[in-house]
Structures are given as structure tokens and as C-alpha cells.
């Protein structure tokens, strides 16, 4: 995006016109590229970066009984043209001194990690099967994966309540078939939260996995077989390493929203399911402490974005 300066110190005598031509060509390429990049950059700027700054600003104020319910950061005195900036870091201090928040973060990350793991275990065979099926079947199978998105997410979660509850469909069936005497307690447990997250986010795992698996060169598998590898060896030595980009993409797509998930644990989870989304809700609505809620959100973002940036830079280095 920065202007390209013509390389200096290069032997410029001889054919300056060629260098100039090259220079103009490079410039036009850069212009075109930056034009393409502008729209997504603007989008990110307006809908991610600016809101992030607003939230960050609120996190540095103190809660107050007022409209809006926090203290102003900038105070402008027109008499002597004096601008006062007041930033309080007490919310962040409190966050780190109190192990309640740490517990909530850890518990969210654990729930998200376990769900991501199961999503991968279930999603991989499905994606593999779709990628290896006949091209005519693929469209049908893929649309079956996407189809549930056509109904409301909330309705689908409520449907799980009807399935899992004490006198719900599953328990009624198991009881009537004589497999169990007492209804199984499935709803309002961590189990139902895992189930809800895995069910909801499964397509986000399948789709990126499918694209990488579908692009994979089948001849490599044949070569591996020809060289005497057993099927499981081929899978672990050829298929799996080639699918890593899809696995990483899928895991990130599931893990990140799952950490901040609020709806699924509040509908399917019990009162003892501690997740950061709930803590945020409590700070915002019960304590009416918008600054603290903002600080919790900012720390969550940093905790999530940090490792992701690290992974990305590592995978880039590996590509090079």
C-alpha cells in the first residue's frame, strides 16, 4: 500500500526507458491492488476497528449513574481551552486481580476447545465422504449440510430442548423401549452445551475441510498405495498433512465464536456452566457496569486474537 520507490543503486545507465516502463507497470499493479483492498479495509475499519476503539474507550471510564452510564473521558473547558483526558485502568486491574474472570475465561476456552475437537472428529469423515463421492452427489450432500441454516438458529436450539428434556423425545423412546428405568438428565448439563455447540457449528468445520479435501490430488494417494503404504498410513502420512489448512481454518471458525457463545449455554446449559458470555451479560445488565463489561470484552479479544496472529504468522513462515 505504501508507494513503491524505484530501486536505487541499480545500474541505471544503459536503458533507463525500460526501468521507467517497469516502474509504471508496478505502479499500476499496486494501484489496482489497493483499489481492491480498499473496500474490505474500509469495511474492517468501519465495522471492526472503530467499534473496537469505542469499546476500548468505554473500558477506560468508570461506571456512573447517568445517561450513558459511564464517565466522560474527554472534558473540554472552553474558557481556558483546556482539554482533560481521564483514563482509568482500574477495570483491567480488577480483572486481573480477581480469579473469577480468569476462571470464566478458562472455562469458556475449555468448553470451546472440547467442542471444536468433537466438531473436527465428526466433521472430518463427513467432509471426506462428500469430497470422495460422485460429483453429482456432492452438490446434494453439500446442500444437506447447509440446509439447516435455512431455519432459525434459535428454533434449532429449542428443538434440542424438546429432544433432550426429562420427558422429551429421547427419554420417552428409551423408557418405552425398556433400555432405561429413569429418565436420563441430559438438559442443563455441560453435555447439552457441548452437543449444542457441535451441532450448530458443524457446517463451519465441514465446508473448509471439504474444499481442501476436494482439491487434493488423488494420484498422490495412488502413489502412496503403489509404494506399499497401508490405508491408515496413507491417511496419516498423506491425506492428513495435506488437509491441515482446512483443519486450521475449520477449527478457528468453530473455536472463536464458541468461546464467546452466549445463547447455547443459556438455553441448553445449567446454572453451573460458567462462560465469559454470561459474565459479560452480568456485568452489562446486572451491575450496569458498561466499562467493566467493555474491559472483559477487550481482554477476551486480545486473548483470542493474540494466539491466532501467532498461528497465522507461523503458518506463513512454513509456507515460505
Amino acid at each position: 500500500m505504501s508507494d513503491f520507490t524505484p530501486p536505487q543503486g541499480l545500474p541505471s545507465k544503459g536503458k533507463p526507458s525500460r526501468l521507467v516502463r517497469l516502474w509504471t507497470r508496478l505502479r499500476t499493479i499496486n494501484m489496482g491492488r489497493s483499489a481492491v483492498i480498499t473496500i474490505p479495509s474500509l469495511w474492517l475499519g468501519i465495522f471492526f476497528f472503530i467499534p473496537f476503539l469505542v469499546v476500548f474507550k468505554i473500558s477506560l471510564s468508570e461506571s456512573a449513574i447517568a445517561i450513558p452510564p459511564y464517565t466522560a473521558m474527554f472534558a473540554w473547558n472552553p474558557e481556558d481551552a483546556y482539554l482533560t483526558i481521564k483514563a482509568s485502568f482500574s477495570n483491567y486491574l480488577f480483572l486481573f486481580q480477581n480469579d473469577f474472570y480468569l476462571d470464566a475465561y478458562l472455562s469458556s476456552i475449555r468448553i470451546a476447545a472440547v467442542s471444536t475437537f468433537f466438531t473436527l472428529i465428526i466433521g472430518f469423515p463427513i467432509a471426506y465422504m462428500i469430497a470422495r463421492s460422485k460429483p453429482t452427489m456432492r452438490t446434494l450432500l453439500l446442500s444437506l449440510v447447509i440446509l439447516p441454516f435455512w431455519t432459525s438458529f434459535l428454533l434449532r436450539v429449542y428443538a434440542w430442548i424438546a429432544l433432550l428434556k426429562k420427558n422429551g423425545v429421547i427419554n420417552e423412546f428409551l423408557m418405552s423401549s425398556g433400555l432405561i428405568d429413569h429418565p436420563l438428565i441430559m438438559l442443563q448439563t455441560n453435555f447439552s452445551v457441548y452437543l449444542g455447540i457441535v451441532y450448530t457449528y458443524l457446517p463451519f468445520m465441514i465446508l473448509p475441510l471439504y474444499t481442501t479435501l476436494e482439491k487434493m490430488d488423488i494420484t498422490l494417494l495412488e502413489a502412496s498405495e503403489d509404494l506399499g503404504a497401508k490405508p491408515y498410513q496413507t491417511f496419516f502420512l498423506v491425506t492428513l498433512p495435506l488437509a491441515v489448512p482446512g483443519i486450521v481454518a475449520g477449527c478457528l471458525l468453530v473455536f472463536i465464536p464458541a468461546v464467546g457463545e452466549f445463547v447455547i449455554p443459556s438455553l441448553l446449559g445449567g446454572s453451573n456452566t460458567l462462560m465469559i458470555g454470561r459474565v459479560l451479560w452480568d456485568e452489562f445488565f446486572l451491575n450496569r457496569d458498561w466499562p467493566m463489561a467493555s474491559a472483559v470484552a477487550i481482554v477476551m479479544l486480545v486473548l483470542l486474537v493474540g494466539p491466532i496472529m501467532f498461528m497465522r504468522s507461523r503458518s506463513k513462515r512454513e509456507e515460505v
Partner: protein, 364 residues
């Protein structure tokens, strides 16, 4: 060109007509879900020619967040008294001129006096409904576990671990409202319900924590359908919600029999109030709606439908017998005397309360 011209003229027309009639002909209401009798809004629109935009919320917190953010665009909202107390201090609401409400004399003054300290002289509110927080239970399930002669009129069933343990298998639900539940526990252990002392909070938290293992969940509305379906057998909840569950269970005809009792130890008495935000675009229309709600026949049909009490003397003779004679909706004076009003806490105490509550809920 023609099209754009037409568009411009339409917009102009809308703007002009808007400026002429917007003040009177539109009303934006933000009320609790399932909190009005069917047809009441239509009737109001027909009588006055005012178009009502009716939005709903399901928690005081959601309403408060909207009001505190400013310019909500609503003309009439229905906060509960303890939330209202804090909001009115911030200056969220405008004064209501009672002399312009021809039906205001229908209000039962002995009830509104209870909250006159929360809004000095009740200048900014007109009460909509009132109710209690008490015990809803599945009669047969509880009898089966606690014996046929057990009289469920005490909070022991929720706060004594040895009693709660017997009901664990059929399910106990508790309102997810820290301030209300803690004031009830404070009162149960003989302390001031509105105490802000941390030692009282600790003592009450201990009582709750000891019974916590036998609770199924904390939630502020789920218990309605769960009671009706027999998924839980005891709930600490709002009287009208529990009586709605009872009605639903009766309709379903599965033999689920729900009852409500006001605990003998005393409990929270709350009011939901009608209030007009300061920046309301159509305050005159809001006044008309308040006056309409204060009419005896409208208030009676409201109470008959939602099973909450209305503080309206003109409505009393028009109530259905099963509503007016229901001691869970309209308790006797002796029971009323044991009820207390919950007041707003300081932010500092709210923080401790929320933290304690989170710890109890997550069993930490």
C-alpha cells in the same frame, strides 16, 4: 425523473403529515411480553385513532440498557419499582400530570403509598400491576415426596437443604434475580430484606449455597413452561407467571395440577409501573393510553387475562371470580402486611451481590 419526482413528493407529504399528526397519532409502547389482554391495544386504536407500535422485552435489565443508552424512541415503558427508582434518579422519566388523567381516582392509594418513597410523591409513574414472588408447585409431585399432609406455605422447602433434597429428583427452579431472591433470603433469616451489609449478604449466601446442590436451575421465565409440563415440581417465581403455568397445565389436560402460595415468612411485593421517558416523541398519546388502562373495564380484563393484580378499585367488581377470589393474586390484608418492598441498591453493593450470586449459581 418521474419516479424520483414522485418519490420526493411522497416524502414531502409524509414529512408534512408527520409534523401535523405525529404528536397524537402514533404511540410507541415497550412492555413486558404477554402482559396485556388480547384485543386491548386494538380497542384503544379504534377508540382514539392512534396507531400503536407495540414492542416487548423480557427483563428489566434489557429495558434499562435501552433507556440508559438514551433516545430509545419509546413513549411508554413498564419498569418494575426497584429499577424505576434508580432510573428516575438519573432523570430518565418526565413528570406525569395526574390532573390530566380523568381515571386516576380509580387507583388504590393504599397500594401506591408503598412506593411513594421510591419516586417522591409518585410524580413520574402510574402503577400498572402488582404482584408477589412466591412458591409455585406441582401439588401431586410434592405430596408424593413430602407426604399427603404437608402444607407448602413456607420457604423451608427452598432454603432448608434437608427438605429441598427430597424434591431434587423432581426439580427445583429459582428465579434468576439476585436482588429479589437475596431480599427474600434476608427476610427469611430475620434480617432487613434491603440490607446492604456484607455480613448479611454472606449469611444469606450461605443459606442459598447449602440448598444449591438440590436446585435444577436459576432462570426467570423457563419455569413457566417447565411447571406446566411437569419438568419441575417447585419454583420460586412471580405469582402471575405461576398462575399462567397453572392455566396452561389445565388446558393441556395432562393432569398436572399447579398451585401458588405466598410464603408465611413474607416475601417481595413488586409493582410494574407505567412511565414516560423524557425524550418520548409522543407523550400526549402515552397519557391517553395510561388513562385508557386506568379504566375499570380495561384494568379488569387485563387482570383476568394475565393473573396479576391491578391496583384499581373500579376494576374489582368486574373481575372473574376465580381471579378476585384467588389469594395468590389478591391476598388478604394479613398477608399483605407481611410483604415488603425491595429498594434499589448502590452500585457498589450491586457488584458484590452479582459476584456472590454468580458464585452461588455456578456452585463455586
Amino acid at each position: 425523473m418521474k419516479l424520483s419526482h414522485a418519490c420526493v413528493s411522497v416524502i414531502c407529504a409524509a414529512a408534512i403529515s408527520g409534523s401535523v399528526s405525529a404528536e397524537d397519532k402514533v404511540l410507541n409502547i415497550y412492555n413486558w411480553s404477554d402482559y396485556i389482554s388480547p384485543g386491548a391495544v386494538k380497542k384503544f386504536e379504534k377508540e382514539t385513532g392512534i396507531k400503536v407500535n407495540y414492542d416487548v422485552y423480557d427483563s428489566n435489565e434489557a429495558l434499562e440498557a435501552k433507556l440508559m443508552a438514551g433516545s430509545s424512541g419509546y413513549d411508554l415503558v413498564f419498569p418494575s419499582n426497584s429499577f424505576f427508582e434508580r432510573q428516575v434518579k438519573v432523570g430518565v422519566y418526565q413528570e406525569i400530570d395526574k390532573s390530566k388523567l380523568s381515571n386516576y381516582h380509580n387507583i388504590d392509594q393504599s397500594l401506591t403509598d408503598k412506593i411513594k418513597n421510591q419516586d417522591i410523591g409518585n410524580k413520574h409513574n402510574v402503577p400498572y400491576t402488582w404482584g408477589t414472588v412466591g412458591i409455585g408447585y406441582n401439588v401431586d409431585m410434592v405430596k408424593k415426596r413430602l407426604g399427603p399432609n404437608f402444607k407448602l406455605d413456607s420457604l423451608d422447602v427452598l432454603f432448608k437443604p434437608e427438605v429441598a433434597a427430597k424434591l431434587q429428583d423432581c426439580g427445583i427452579a429459582v428465579l434468576d434475580s439476585p436482588s429479589e431472591v437475596m431480599s427474600i433470603v434476608n427476610n427469611y433469616i430475620g434480617e432487613d430484606p434491603n440490607s446492604e451489609s456484607l455480613s448479611d449478604l454472606k449469611a444469606s449466601a450461605k443459606v442459598l449455597a447449602s440448598a444449591r446442590p438440590y436446585y435444577k436451575y436459576f432462570h426467570s421465565s423457563k419455569y413457566i413452561s417447565d411447571l406446566a409440563n411437569g419438568d419441575i415440581c417447585v419454583a420460586l417465581g412471580y405469582n402471575g407467571d405461576i398462575l399462567q403455568a397453572k392455566a396452561r397445565a389445565k388446558e393441556a389436560g395432562q393432569g398436572v395440577n399447579i398451585a401458588y402460595s405466598i410464603p408465611k415468612e413474607g416475601t417481595v411485593m413488586w409493582f410494574d409501573l407505567m412511565a414516560i421517558p423524557k425524550d418520548a416523541p409522543h407523550p400526549k398519546a402515552a397519557m391517553k393510553y395510561i388513562n385508557y388502562i386506568l379504566r375499570g373495564d380495561v384494568a379488569a380484563s387485563l387482570s383476568n387475562y394475565i393473573f396479576y393484580a391491578v391496583p384499581n378499585t373500579a376494576a374489582m367488581p368486574m373481575l372473574d371470580a376465580d381471579v378476585s377470589e384467588n389469594k395468590g393474586i389478591y391476598p388478604t390484608q394479613a398477608v399483605k402486611d407481611k410483604l415488603f418492598i425491595q429498594v434499589a441498591h448502590t452500585s457498589k453493593f450491586d457488584r458484590s451481590l452479582t459476584r456472590t450470586w454468580s458464585n452461588i449459581k455456578t456452585g463455586r
